[in-house]
Symmetry: C2
Subunit: 343 residues, 2 copies
């Protein structure tokens, strides 16, 4: 795996990192200390160690594989620019999204223009009003310009869940090319587990997982974990130090006991997932009830995450126009064309 020139620069250690090390401060949330009022020690937990307890997939990872960032958005900002962008040898490195559409929040995160590349999905009609995207491996052939691949699983906004076979295939390609496969677990396992289809987590020498507390109901904690090869985790921690000095400790302190006890996994399975499954089902039922059965509409199979992805074939209005009309009626949708144009 190769870092970009900027990534090397931002992650190569710094005076402030040495100073903070000397001062014994926690740069990446290794030790969490929460004070009640301003003087009373409330809690002190080594969060990375606890996180290992719930990575119950048999992954051979240790604390050196884990970096803490202030939320998943920042983790992706670091990872995209760590791998993507101009390399030390002057050649460009790009981030490839093997299955578009992808999360709109990635779109503006590239520090160099032209850093993102996407592959259109293959489309299967699964039933009269349902379809599913899949990775079009025939058209997926990452060249030397591709520095990393990235998928969200499940995917916001489409609700797609890349299958175990697809993920394995992507990991094999990543291994052949010696590039990382970055997997956004914002909605996936082990938390918050907003997954309605079957999905096994995968660890290889190329996988970089990003896990977040946001969809577990704690977005205000700004806490995410990058589980990655040690050199990647160390680089992310260094980028954190240079751009943000240290992580906040309150969110980690709140989440620490939930993670240490494994409660976060139980709550994800027993509370979070059923909650969103009920809402998803109610939405699907409403659509089946109110959309004419012979209308040329189709929904992407809802396999996880929080959105339903609606395809109105032959619509006379753009999705932006539909968005404006519905917004006036107090109904919020995300115009799909905005996702397409953002990248």
């Amino acid at each position: 795996m190769k870092f970009s020139a900027l990534g090397q620069n931002l992650s190569g250690g710094s005076g402030i990192e040495s100073l903070m090390d000397d001062l014994g401060k926690a740069l990446s949330g290794v030790v969490l200390i929460l004070y009640k009022q301003q003087d009373q020690l409330l809690l002190q937990v080594p969060l990375q160690d606890y996180l290992l307890n719930i990575l119950e997939f048999g992954w051979p990872v240790g604390p050196e594989n884990i970096a803490v960032t202030p939320g998943g958005q920042t983790a992706f900002y670091f990872l995209f620019n760590l791998f993507g962008g101009c390399r030390a040898d002057g050649t460009p490195g790009r981030i490839l999204f093997p299955l578009m559409p992808e999360y709109i929040g990635y779109a503006n995160q590239a520090l160099e223009p032209g850093m993102f590349a996407g592959v259109q999905p293959g489309i299967s009609r699964t039933s009269p009003h349902r379809f599913k995207y899949h990775v079009d491996f025939k058209n997926l052939d990452p060249g030397v310009d591709i520095a990393a691949m990235c998928v969200s699983r499940p995917t916001n906004p489409s609700g797609n869940l890349i299958s175990d076979a697809e993920l394995r295939h992507l990991a094999d390609i990543a291994a052949q090319r010696d590039i990382p496969l970055i997997i956004d677990n914002a909605y996936g396992w082990p938390f918050p587990g907003i997954v309605f289809g079957e999905a096994k987590p995968l660890w290889t020498g190329q996988t970089v997982h990003v896990m977040s507390l946001s969809k577990f109901g704690l977005p205000g904690t700004r806490t995410a974990f990058v589980v990655a090869p040690p050199e990647v985790a160390a680089a992310v921690s260094s980028m954190m130090a240079v751009t943000g000095l240290a992580n906040g400790n309150f969110g980690q302190a709140i989440a620490g006991p939930l993670i240490a006890s494994g409660e976060i996994v139980r709550l994800s399975r027993e509370i979070i997932r059923p909650f969103y499954l009920r809402k998803r089902n109610a939405a699907l039922e409403a659509i089946a009830e109110f959309f004419p059965a012979d209308a040329p509409y189709a929904l992407h199979e809802s396999e996880g995450a929080l959105f339903l992805w609606l395809w109105l074939d032959g619509a006379k209005k753009t999705s932006r126009e539909l968005y404006e009309i519905l917004k006036k009626r107090g109904v919020l949708i995300v115009p799909g064309e905005e996702v397409a144009q953002a990248f």
Copy 2:
């Protein structure tokens, strides 16, 4: 004031920002919501409004002048790259530090090489074992390549406090050149107020102030405020959205009541400042007691912040060597040459 091309790109609005706006989420800490456990609303405060109460300097600022960032380190990362770096017209923009040495944490924050420029200080001997740096205005003539100036006040590591006259002079230069004068208040007024000399805060159309809760004793909250012209505050908020989605809300919720009541200012004046003044005085007394009176040492006048800046004239060891020797004895210093080499 002109933004860099990268700054325009990162701050120019994004799909994710529109989506978050639609969803009614607080992007930059405008509204703070803290939940106790996972369901009980504990506190909801509009922090920017409260902050205005304690900007008791008569500054004509409103909420549109304030952006919240996860700590001062991130605020400077945003500001340096918002103004510095390649501009839309292809010319380079640089950040000028009118009085070196400056805070070592700035050193690795430039996303483009060669972005930082510094001016050596003038030096006055104020007494046999004391000296003071001052801005060498004879050698300060920012060219068209200078996109912003930046000073910390008081300065970590030197303990220098740029005088009111110097600050006014710098602001005049900034106004002539139509560039911002960025002022790092990490140790200054209104909080934490670790200021031992006389310093009046200054607001002009060019000033950009960064205030942080870290040295008030709340580094784990990762909360800082950028008080700036509205277009700069808006750009910082946009950069925050793209790179980090939202600020954490716990720290702001803790600080909110302290800010709303003005307690933060009273505690700074009555607790924080006296605490560090006592420590500073103890250190000065120890140096006077244990350093030979005829030794060629000199301390920078200690006018604020947390460090003493020691000058060992004609020393046979480098400051890095002294650092290694003292570290083995459990004494921590920051080698000054590291500061010089970092930029």
